[in-house]
């Protein structure tokens, strides 16, 4: 099924050639799976998988004052990252609610790549543009110039080394390097969304089909394969990583959704800091927790959570949930009041009129990932 209105990445034709099942993913025609979600999930945990994540947005922020501008617009402290280093962060509104979760890559003293969620690219661009200082800082949306290929899994380094002109043996977690991928100027980042050792390659869009094909050929020799967004979702959920639009949105503040660790009040004022500081002082009304189903059932986005099997109090809701293929458990993430958020707390998820027992548990659910090795 092909809809005329869906956006396509430069790799769309490659996915169709490879027989991927395509779906509408937030307005993008994207591969949800090739061989099967669980198979692809396991390949990434044990070997290496390729993902087309070209739908992600790339905003370039540069020019005199770029550092100060991002320091004011993001929650994390950009002065803590060196040239060649990346940082997970967020854009907040004045009320502390989350516009987007982002990765900031420092390319120079006043030069940054901000990687944003696909569906938020235009919104983020407009938000940043509206706050630009009168002169100095240049904001460019280069999302169409870049394709992004994620190479994830314990064998990712071995694979990526075959196609880049730099030595990546010592490239550490959340660092990146500017080099060439099959001769094309690219950003080679040790980042990812799976919990495994992995790289995200920002490559020129026009050269990306050739790079993708070469990677598809090389990955097979290592026992890996191309993977779809279905596996990307189960992989990120096993790690407790947030997904914008599912686990957070503009109605939930950065502290509630568990972004406190990337919210740095010590750096001084930033957009949203006053509201967040006040919230911190007053205490949170709800917080993001991991849950594990004890009854045989799968919690899904939007399901309500109650305190008792019958009657009782409505406590909150599930934001994401699925089977965790590495663990053979059904897990999810949810918002609960702090007094119901302790590890081990039993709760009930209402699934089609029936309340199913679940338990608050630690995130990440999966703890054997190779991301930081």
């Amino acid at each position: 099924m092909v809809s005329q209105n869906l956006k396509r990445t430069p790799l769309n034709a490659e996915h169709r050639k490879l027989g991927a099942r395509m779906v509408d993913f937030g307005g993008w025609d994207m591969p949800v799976q090739y061989s099967g979600v669980i198979d692809e999930h396991k390949v990434v945990r044990s070997s290496v998988g390729l993902f087309d994540v070209s739908h992600m947005g790339e905003l370039m922020v540069s020019g005199r004052g770029a550092n100060d501008f991002l320091q004011r617009m993001t929650t994390n402290d950009v002065t803590k990252i060196a040239i060649g280093q990346a940082q997970y962060s967020a854009l907040c509104k004045e009320d502390g609610c989350v516009i987007d979760d982002i990765i900031v890559y420092r390319r120079g003293i006043d030069s940054f790549l901000v990687c944003v969620n696909a569906s938020n690219t235009e919104k983020d661009e407009q938000w940043l543009r509206a706050h630009l200082p009168a002169s100095g800082v240049i904001l460019e949306n280069q999302s169409e110039a870049y394709a992004q290929i994620a190479v994830q899994g314990p064998k990712a380094r071995e694979l990526v080394q075959q196609v880049v002109d730099i030595n990546i043996a010592n490239l550490k977690y959340y660092w990146f390097s500017e080099g060439k991928v099959l001769g094309q100027p690219s950003i080679i980042a040790r980042t990812g969304y799976t919990g495994e050792l992995g790289f995200e390659l920002y490559v020129p869009a026009d050269a990306s089909p050739r790079i993708w094909s070469a990677l598809v050929e090389a990955v097979a020799k290592l026992g890996g394969k191309p993977c779809g967004l279905g596996a990307r979702d189960t992989l990120r959920l096993e790690m407790g990583y947030l997904l914008y639009g599912n686990d957070m949105d503009e109605g939930i503040n950065a502290l509630e959704c568990g972004l406190g660790w990337v919210t740095k009040f010590t750096k001084g004022e930033f957009v949203g800091s006053k509201a967040l500081a006040l919230q911190k002082e007053r205490g949170l009304g709800k917080q993001m927790v991991g849950i594990q189903m004890l009854d045989k059932a799968i919690a899904r986005h939007g399901y309500k959570i109650f305190s008792h099997a019958e009657g009782g109090r409505e406590l909150g809701w599930v934001t994401s949930g699925t089977v965790a293929p590495s663990l053979n458990l059904n897990v999810g993430m949810a918002y609960l009041p702090p007094e119901f958020s302790s590890i081990g707390q039993e709760i009930f998820v209402e699934i089609r009129g029936e309340r199913k027992l679940a338990r608050v548990c630690k995130k990440p659910f999966y703890t054997n990932g190779t991301a930081q090795l």
Partner: protein
């Protein structure tokens, strides 16, 4: 492309039913399973539950989605395939045979269902949309 057995009748929602006397054996089609992807959970009714034709009698879940299962004909559930509920991923192996979902005691005659030929054409049309 799977073969759709001639002794089954099919619904537009991709269930099938095989009638043996006053018992109906109900399952879902290979096409539905292929569309769903990995099946990870099945929610089936208890024996004794009564359903009208077209009523939802349970759900089937893949990693990504939950889909309702619809009863092809009015009846009372006589037996649930419990082997399948404990290993739902097996359904892909033999969805038109041993991996049926429920057996029902019929309380009506199947109506408005498709033959295997009609169903094959129906899913070919669906895939081309």
């Amino acid at each position: 492309m799977s073969n759709y057995p001639n002794n089954l009748q099919y619904t537009k929602e991709h269930e099938w039913i095989r009638v043996e006397g006053n018992t109906g054996i109900v399952g879902i089609t290979a096409f539905a399973i292929e569309q769903l992807g990995d099946v990870v959970h099945l929610d089936l009714p208890k024996a004794g539950s009564k359903f009208k034709a077209g009523e939802s009698f349970g759900t089937i879940e893949s990693t990504k989605t939950v889909s309702d299962l619809y009863m092809p004909v009015a009846g009372t559930v006589a037996e649930v395939n419990s082997a399948l509920t404990s290993a739902p991923e097996d359904i892909a192996n033999d969805p038109h045979g041993k991996n049926w979902l429920v057996k029902v005691t019929l309380e009506g005659t199947p109506a408005n269902l498709m033959t295997a030929d009609q169903y094959t054409k129906y899913i070919a049309d669906a895939a081309n949309h």
